[in-house]
């Protein structure tokens, strides 16, 4: 019998794959192999972030100092490149008339309910957010993906709760356009205080407007999680937003019409256009101390079995590692391998001064220890310092 089995035995050759093939067929194993060497598949060290390059305001209508691009309605923009990923953010604006009724009806994000619930939430009602639409390009058409929806919502909430955009900053200080005797138009703005007469006309204006900001964020060449790239790009873009001055026509500034409908007479206010000035603009006054930058981390358990064995002292190493599993913190997740094999994540939004705006922990798989949270908070602060320094250049 022994002879028979010996005859039928097939010699099994170990199959070896080149690293890039292995990375495709078993990303987890490939990641573990890399980690055991102290590096990641993207050749970064555990706590190394990708460098970013940014271009601010190159797409907006205020690119050139002394002229505006008349057809362009982008108020602020940013292009952020991080590794291979490119995030293009453009901020556009709209104007909404502030009468208390319309705000209550239309703002369905629950600000008013919050107002009633607690005193603390009351603070939040003084802040506004931006309406982001995120598009992650991946060669598909049709409805937006879950990822895009989640990121958009998270950006909206985070901007609101970071208290970056005070509602005050979005108030329209509407000017009045009047026709001069020679038939030319001139626009007077309340903040260009030249004469008191203007203030009088301005006082008569009972209606108020505020700006609404929209962000369109396009992510090209997505290689890993993109929330923090979108957030950082949005932060840069917000910092260079300029709001055009707006004005209304003198004749319309307090126009009322009486109309009769079915016997009853009612006063309606003429709807008229509020126009934006082509050239004059003011920078958006954001609360700069609240500007914060995002960073993400992953926690992964090193799998002792998939360690690359060093041929010289293979035996001892394996013996030591088998007993306890070791968790490590990885900063700035990128590449498919890391995204699919690292489930425990920490996401931090922090300002350079050490104000923490958001901390999200997702524990799935590897255990997140308090030391790791501390470490990630510290790293985030350093990262925020680095990123905020880029703006000044």
């Amino acid at each position: 019998m022994a002879e028979n089995t010996a005859l039928e035995t097939i010699e099994v050759h170990p199959i070896t794959f080149p690293p890039d093939v292995l990375a495709r067929i078993s990303p987890e194993l490939s990641l573990q192999r890399h980690l055991s060497l102290g590096i990641r598949p993207c050749l970064r060290r555990y706590e190394e972030f990708r460098d970013i390059t940014i271009e601010n305001n190159t797409l907006s209508r205020y690119v050139e100092k002394d002229s505006v691009d008349a057809k362009n309605n982008i108020l602020g923009s940013n292009i952020l490149k991080s590794g291979k990923t490119v995030v293009i953010t453009s901020i556009t604006g709209g104007i909404i008339e502030e009468n208390s009724a319309s705000i209550k009806d239309l703002d369905d994000f629950g600000e008013d309910e919050l107002y009633e619930v607690t005193k603390e939430e009351d603070e939040i009602a003084n802040y506004a957010s931006i309406y982001p639409v995120v598009e992650v390009e991946r060669g598909r058409v049709g409805a937006c993906t879950d990822e895009e929806m989640t990121i958009s919502q998270k950006l909206y909430d985070s901007v609101l709760h970071s208290r970056i955009l005070p509602k005050k900053a979005l108030k329209v200080k509407a000017g009045v356009r009047s026709v001069n005797e020679d038939g030319t138009f001139s626009v007077l703005y309340p903040d260009e205080l030249e004469n008191d007469a203007l203030n009088e006309t301005n006082l008569k204006m009972k209606r108020k407007w505020s700006y609404v900001l929209y962000a369109k964020i396009i992510v090209l060449s997505r290689t890993g999680p993109v929330f923090d790239l979108c957030w950082n790009s949005l932060m840069y873009a917000l910092q260079n937003v300029k709001l055009p001055k707006a004005f209304i026509d003198e004749r319309a500034s307090d126009l009322r019409m009486t109309i009769r409908t079915r016997g009853r007479s009612a006063t309606i206010r003429e709807t008229y256009e509020i126009l934006c000035d082509q050239t004059k603009s003011l920078p958006l006054m954001i609360s700069s101390q609240n500007i914060a930058f995002a960073a993400n981390y992953g926690v992964i358990e090193l799998d002792p079995e998939s360690q690359l064995q060093n041929p010289d002292n293979a035996q001892e190493e394996v013996d030591i590692d088998m007993d306890k599993s070791q968790c490590i913190l990885i900063a700035d997740l990128d590449t498919e391998a890391e995204e699919i094999s690292i489930h425990s994540t920490i996401s931090v939004i922090a300002s350079s001064a050490g104000r923490y705006k958001q901390l999200t922990l997702v524990g799935a798989g590897a255990k997140i220890t308090p030391e790791m949270i501390k470490r990630s908070l510290l790293l985030s602060k350093v990262r925020a310092n680095d990123l905020s320094a880029r703006v000044k250049k």
Binding site: A70, G93, V133
Partner: protein
């Protein structure tokens, strides 16, 4: 059909987009700021890059600037990838043109252009090599600016907005061709196009064959002369494309 899209955060419905006045801008607009020098050859500056988008099969960036226009387009090619459904003996191409940041063109005009481009690339790509597969091409008009100082009068402006898209078409063709080459998809020849007097003609085979003609305005008397001008421009663009691809190739081989 005014249904609010609940999947996206579009902001309050009562908000109106900003409307800019156009009465008092003329003086600032007249200043030619940062205009490319007139003596640069034919006033065209073109910058081409390939292969910088990771999650697609081939990509290209075309940035063009001439006296009238400044444009930047990103093209991404996904495919050949398998399609669902019954067997097809040859590949299908779909081209999507996306407005990008500046919502400048009507969607039906963009669709018309993408239909036109599909016609061109149906004849350029060797589709019989790709049975049961689809090639999806996405063109993003990232940036597009009219450098010409325009007359403020309403009439001339409305005329201009109509034909503006024809300046873009040659660059769309250039960038799609480059992206296809970058994706390693078999094409019959490098397709290119030129634009003259609002006429766009796209060629292959050194100008021996036309693959597309687009004319939005003007009379047809000059059409046949425009064809020759377009051909000249096509040759220049094609040479640039080839040198760009060769440079990329030599970079790749030297780095690996």
């Amino acid at each position: 059909m005014n249904v609010q899209d609940r999947r996206r955060l579009l902001g309050p419905a009562a908000a109106k987009p900003m409307a800019f006045s156009n009465a008092i801008i003329d003086e600032q607009q007249k200043k030619p700021v940062n205009m490319p020098s007139k003596d640069s050859e034919n006033g065209d500056e073109l910058s081409l890059h390939t292969g910088f988008i990771e999650n697609c099969n081939g990509s290209a960036l075309v940035e063009a600037r001439n006296l009238r226009h400044q444009t930047s387009l990103i093209t991404a090619v996904y495919g050949p990838r398998s399609i669902r459904g019954s067997f097809t003996s040859q590949g299908t191409i779909s081209i999507q043109l996306k407005n990008g940041l500046l919502e400048k063109y009507n969607t039906n005009e963009l669709k018309e252009v993408s239909g036109f481009l599909m016609g061109i690339f149906n004849s350029v790509v060797n589709l019989s090599r790709y049975p049961k597969s689809g090639i999806d091409i996405f063109v993003y008009l990232t940036y597009d600016k009219n450098l010409q100082s325009e007359a403020p009068a309403g009439e001339s402006q409305s005329k201009k907005t109509f034909s503006e898209i024809s300046y873009l078409i040659p660059h769309c063709i250039t960038s799609i061709t480059l992206a296809l080459a970058d994706a390693g998809i078999e094409i019959v020849d490098m397709a290119g196009a030129g634009e003259a007097n609002g006429t766009v003609v796209s060629f292959i085979k050194n100008g021996e064959e036309i693959v597309g003609v687009w004319k939005d305005e003007g009379n047809n008397e000059d059409l046949l002369e425009s064809v020759d001008d377009c051909k000249e421009q096509y040759r220049r663009y094609r040479d640039l494309m080839i040198s760009c691809l060769l440079e990329q190739k030599s970079l790749d081989t030297s780095s690996s």
